[in-house]
């Protein structure tokens, strides 16, 4: 599940539940839809309510990063803790993690 907080060209997408191969498809469709419609300057993925993420989540983030970059925007990740932060670090995407909120 996904909740979108829209502040003009800055969008926060709060992701809910587990991000695995099974769930990735739905997240992907929903996020691509938001990106295509809003062409955000900044898309923040809020991981606060994500209980689990495996490498399918890394693919999801990388794919959305490309989609946002294609419309001239950037992507950031907030509230990634524990194993989810570790997963992001392993994939070399640490630079996307924000410690302070950007909005």
């Amino acid at each position: 599940m996904l909740k979108i907080y829209n502040d003009g060209k800055r969008i926060t997408a709060a992701l809910y539940g587990d991000i695995d191969h099974h769930a990735a498809r739905e997240f992907r469709t929903a996020l691509d839809d938001v990106i295509a419609r809003s062409r955000p300057e900044l898309l923040v993925l809020d991981m606060e309510n994500v209980g689990f993420m495996d490498s399918s989540g890394v693919g999801l983030i990388l794919g959305r990063m490309r989609a946002v970059n294609d419309v001239g925007g950037e992507i950031l990740i907030k509230n990634a803790r524990g194993e989810i932060a570790e997963m992001i670090r392993l994939s070399g995407l640490s630079s996307l993690i924000v410690t302070k909120t950007t909005n």
Binding site: D20, H21, A24, D54, S55, S56, E83, L90
Partner: protein
């Protein structure tokens, strides 16, 4: 040193994506007897999810098949989980285990990190595979518990 088996549980399920969460929940339930830390449970769940997803998306390439998961507890809090498929197999295991190696087409958005993740979250990862016959991934971790 010979391993002394204390407990064992075998799970067999069709290779469909909804069973990814089932498999990792089963693994979490199995290790509960060791009173694991949150981190240990998360590590086991992540590694299992990687291996089971691989069996479904690569082994069977989303065709019908069965995944078998054998969970074992040995003396000394050693957890061993084996994930087996009878799918296409891996021609070159060493190459497949390299970070960022993936045979998935770009639209599937796989990043070739599954084995790297398994190795980082578990103590030991062994892979047996034969082309056309299938793959077995052996995951091992000694839990310290709380």
């Amino acid at each position: 040193m010979k391993k002394i088996l204390i407990n064992e549980c075998v799970l067999r399920f069709p290779a469909i994506s909804r069973n990814e969460s089932l498999s990792r929940s089963a693994a979490a339930a199995f290790v509960l007897q060791l009173d694991p830390t949150v981190e240990e449970t998360a590590a086991i769940k992540t590694a299992v999810s990687e291996a089971v997803t691989n069996a479904i998306v690569h082994g069977y390439r989303n065709t019908k098949g069965t995944v078998e998961m054998i969970m074992r507890l040995y003396e000394g809090n050693l957890v061993q989980i084996i994930i087996k498929d009878k799918g296409c197999g891996i021609p070159d295991v060493k190459a497949a285990m390299e970070p960022e190696f993936s045979t998935a087409p770009p639209e599937e958005e796989r990043s070739g990190l599954g084995f790297t993740v398994m190795e980082s979250f578990m103590d030991k990862v062994r892979v047996r595979s034969a082309e056309g016959k299938g793959t077995a991934v052996v995951l091992e971790k000694t839990l310290i518990g709380k």
